[in-house]
Subunit: 449 residues, 2 copies
């Protein structure tokens, strides 16, 4: 369903200054290949929360039942959440819905509110009528500031529009036992799904965080889990040479730490997979970017669009990048360039070609140029884009993140580096228990007006 091709990251292709030699790969595998058994054991026991999800069949059943009852009632669906509570839902929607879903007749229309931008928030409520809207509030802790701000706005609007009936337009996903949102849902009798405690936010796409919006869009959550399950079996393989989770992590880790490829670019050649890249950006950055100053910097680029924006830099700028190209073998729809000009017109050579051929040629051209310029790269090849292949991709990258955490020697499940900024913001907002520190005075010498 998905295969990983890393020959262009080897010395044979890009030279030993920038690519990995066979000896080096052999040695690294000899040294760290036993992580595959460790992963298999952990997966067996469900040591890490995300590992328990592919085999869970009651959650998709519950989510599907909820969607069956509610899908026809609503013109709009809004997910209020941020970070891991938004990115997975967005990625599923982008991969599996119509590109202009909200402008078709499909229902419900789909929105994600993952910011506290005043103009965006106002604009959202310009186009959705609360009565016709199901609001899904998602927060692991139960009180994420941005999510609570959006929730309060939505709750007020639902109450104003529906009186006591507001509870029928709200559903939440949060920790099963703890936090404000859980208490609220229990006390008010609002339907609530579980974000199981051991599953971190950025590993939560295969919980109701991602499965409920999927089901509301008519996507079968069980298919996402089927794909994840098939990939889980591969990521448990004891033979490191055939284990895609381990090898994805190993190549990335070696290129970063041994060849200075500190920037890991994910570049899908399929618009539908763009937001998988954005989801991965959080997963890779927040899991691996840790004290003491380690971790690759993930970047997102889109083929072919960003060939006209970033590829100049990738080919001639600092050789500090590892580009992971995503490609799709068979698109769900294709377009043939029609006969619209005489055969002697310069663009006529395109007539009769399909868009998928052009996209594939562009991807191949980029790959060729990267190799010529000795820039290591690899390809994640999708046979097709489907709920199953997407579920497989999510699990592959989550497994790779755990393997990478082990290789980098960091805990991929925490995020201590976001606390300082939160505290400073809370103090400014007058949150009880946080006392403001004096703002840093600004010296006008460093201001240009």
């Amino acid at each position: 369903m998905i295969s990983f091709h890393y020959q262009n990251a080897t010395a044979g292709r890009v030279g030993s200054d920038h690519g990995l030699s066979d000896v080096e790969l052999d040695e690294a595998i000899a040294r760290t290949g036993s992580l595959c058994s460790r992963f298999a054991q952990d997966a067996e026991k469900g040591t890490h929360g995300f590992m328990r999800l592919p085999r869970d069949r009651s959650t998709p059943a519950g989510v599907s039942a909820f969607a069956r009852e509610n899908r026809g009632r609503f013109r709009n669906f809004i997910q209020i959440g941020i970070g891991g509570s938004a990115l997975g839902a967005t990625a599923i929607h982008a991969a599996l819905s119509h590109r202009f879903h909200n402008e078709t007749d499909a229902r419900p229309r789909f929105y994600v509110l993952d910011n506290v931008d005043p103009e965006e928030t106002r604009a959202l409520f310009d186009v959705v009528e609360p009565r016709e809207t199901l609001v899904h509030v998602v927060t692991k802790s139960g009180d994420t500031t941005e999510t609570m701000a959006g929730f309060l706005v939505a709750l007020r609007r639902l109450k104003d529009a529906l009186g006591d009936g507001w509870k029928k337009n709200l559903v939440v996903t949060t920790d099963p036992g703890k936090g404000f949102l859980r208490t609220f849902a229990r006390e008010e009798g609002v339907p609530a799904f579980d974000l199981p405690e051991p599953v971190g936010g950025r590993f939560s796409v295969l919980t109701p965080v991602g499965l409920l919006p999927a089901a509301m869009l008519g996507i079968d959550p069980a298919l996402l889990l089927d794909g994840a399950s098939a990939m889980e079996a591969k990521c448990r393989r004891a033979d490191p040479r055939t284990n895609p989770g381990y090898l994805f992590a190993l190549v990335a880790h070696l290129l970063d730490t041994k060849r200075g490829k500190r920037i890991h670019v994910m570049m899908p050649y399929a618009r539908a997979l763009r937001d998988v890249g954005d989801w991965f950006r959080q997963l890779w950055a927040e899991s691996l970017g840790k004290n003491p100053q380690v971790g690759p910097t993930p970047m997102l680029a889109l083929g072919t669009t960003d060939q006209h924006s970033q590829v100049q830099l990738f080919n001639e700028g600092p050789n500090d990048k590892y580009v992971i190209l995503l490609e799709c073998e068979k698109f769900r729809q294709d377009v043939t360039v029609p006969e619209a000009l005489p055969a002697n017109a310069p663009p006529a050579f395109l007539q009769g070609r399909t868009f998928s051929q052009i996209l594939a040629a562009m991807k191949s051209g980029t790959e060729t140029a990267l190799v010529q310029n000795r820039r290591p790269n690899a390809t994640l090849h999708f046979e097709e884009i489907s709920a199953a292949s997407l579920g497989a991709c999510f699990y592959l990258l989550e497994a790779a993140t755990l393997y990478a955490g082990w290789l980098y020697g960091v805990n991929p499940f925490d995020q201590p580096g976001v606390e300082a900024g939160k505290k400073a913001a809370f103090a400014l907002l007058g949150k009880p228990g946080f006392s403001p520190t004096a703002p840093l005075p600004e010296d006008p010498r460093y201001v240009v007006v």
Copy 2:
């Protein structure tokens, strides 16, 4: 209108290992400050194409006249272009239109086709009816492959729907004299605007490439140019200490080359400015990423959204980034968090706060944490988001790019590193004059299925 605040990039704030000392800034200004006079002279003469645009008043007048005649006729507007022919139009639309413009009653609805994705292209023509659609084809060279593919699809559909009337639904912007699209427009009598020869694609937002879509959206192109003109005056200032274009470039260049801050993150705390960041990503990457392996790598992040995705990495990962925060003082609309919960509920501390206050507190918190972690950063402060401030921002960043080109010693106006990939793709597509090379054979040892 826009001010640049760089104290957080100084040694006084983040220490001398990561920030710039006063002595170092003084020396750098003594050494390179004369570039300000060079810029002023060049601007006076119009040496570089983009410098001629702010004072051009006939182009906005022509574009506005075209929009007045045509705006009411169309339900849809599609810009077909890629790279510099798409990013500026997208940035203007995102900054100055309703966030969900296409779902409001506003006309025309607005689309940018900047890829050859088969599914996306099909999806676009699912939701637009060719008869009701104005297609704006934009390519500097006149025959960009992706743009031509989209153009051929659109042209066929217009001809099929409208017969001989198709010309009324098409307008092009391209080189005034050269290239296929110019010839085509001349021969067929299609309305055509000029992308003046000396203006590079990524510097073209203030030509009809960006001004025509602006005018079609009801945005006055003259206001964009007014803002650019005001900023041009600042970027010509002979005193380097007060010249925002020079200082923006100098701080970035010194942090990259003297402190290893090779990744330049633009992080708007305003959803409306997100795509200005995407536009800047092309400008900075393609202009400065040059042989011999120089140039910073631009990244885009969005506040507060990416606090939950990237900030962990920014605070604790490798100290190799310079974060340029964008903030807006006065939003066009605000939202007050309503009373929706009892005062003892944990999120109730937010009630009565405005979203712009929360966003500002979050930005300030991020800034504080970056400083505590000794990560250099700066702020580009917008009094408001308007056509004028946006025009000023475009010009500021273009001027900074030229200054940075001088500082890095590269030509910011070429992009030789994209040719190899294009040639390989052309060969695969059978473009006359390009012969295919044998594809690199794949060794199954480096494939994981």
